[in-house]
């Protein structure tokens, strides 16, 4: 009888633990959906305000710390995508270039430029709703740039001209390696 009670108690502890983990996972998934819906709302708001149809936000510790939409035309800045804007805002607020503890929520799959920014910012998770093919249907070059980036530099539509050792002169990487005060990033 004693053994039976002990086995039942163990099963109960396991079940509680299992339920708690599943509950935690459901909460996380629900939070992802809530934040992603907010990114979509921001994108629609962006169109209403004369911006492009893309919205993004940065979350840290379960809270939104920066939001933005695409305002390329309004700000005359081709880098002013929703994700880049949100990353720059979040960095300004936190006072660091390192967003390792942050999650990016974006209405659309980040383009190669914004994907690069995600990696340089150290972001570990990106959640998005639409993808590059849907962006292409709406008239945006995301998929084209992804296709171009896969090619050798010399085979792209943009002319990439590599001139190694062009002036036997300044070598920034040697200078960097020799600099004892450098802050690696």
């Amino acid at each position: 009888m004693q053994e039976f009670i002990q086995a039942a108690q163990s099963m109960l502890i396991f079940a509680n633990h299992f339920n708690s983990n599943v509950f935690h996972l459901i909460c996380l998934m629900e939070k992802d959906r809530v934040f992603l819906c907010r990114a979509l709302e921001i994108a629609v708001q962006g169109v209403n305000e004369g911006g492009g149809p893309f919205g993004a936000l940065i979350a840290k510790d379960g809270r939104i710390i920066a939001e933005s939409w695409n305002n390329v035309v309004l700000s005359a800045d081709p880098t002013a995508h929703a994700e880049i804007n949100a990353i720059r805002k979040a960095c300004e607020i936190l006072g660091t270039h390192d967003l390792a503890d942050c999650i990016l929520y974006s209405s659309c799959e980040p383009c190669p430029m914004c994907l690069g920014a995600v990696y340089w910012a150290g972001i570990k998770k990106v959640v998005y709703a639409f993808d590059r093919k849907e962006a292409e249907k709406a008239g945006f070059s995301d998929k084209f740039i992804y296709d171009e980036i896969m090619l050798e530099p010399s085979s792209r539509h943009v002319r990439f001209l590599h001139i190694p050792g062009c002036c036997n002169g300044p070598d920034p990487f040697r200078k960097w390696n020799e600099n004892e005060n450098k802050i690696p990033y």
Copy 2:
């Protein structure tokens, strides 16, 4: 005799035209080298000022209109690469997001983020000295990000979570297509 003179004149005109084109080509190549050396100088200057070892400039009609080095750490902005900074400066000066008539000179092959910015800015030519492998040897992730971007989103080191139709709600692309006042970019 008349025919001989005409043929000689035609050959002379062709030779002059040919020489002029070759001369023009040599001048162009020389200008590429001069501007690229300047980008390398800017990169070295950047290291001296506490920046990263990357320099870039934007030229239009044979003149430099914007220069910058990488100041990610100093400005606490992971997007503050030399190329992005130079593109943003040039756009501010020209008052447009479109740099179709401009050339980017960069000390190093642009990373995926900066390559994306080149395409979004409509730049048609990029000249660079070092490449992604040399950047890797100096401790920078350019090659790693190029390798990551080639993978399916779900296979990357950064977790890319695609949730299509997440809230049956706002559709920014439909909103964009329906907007008669939109300015395509």
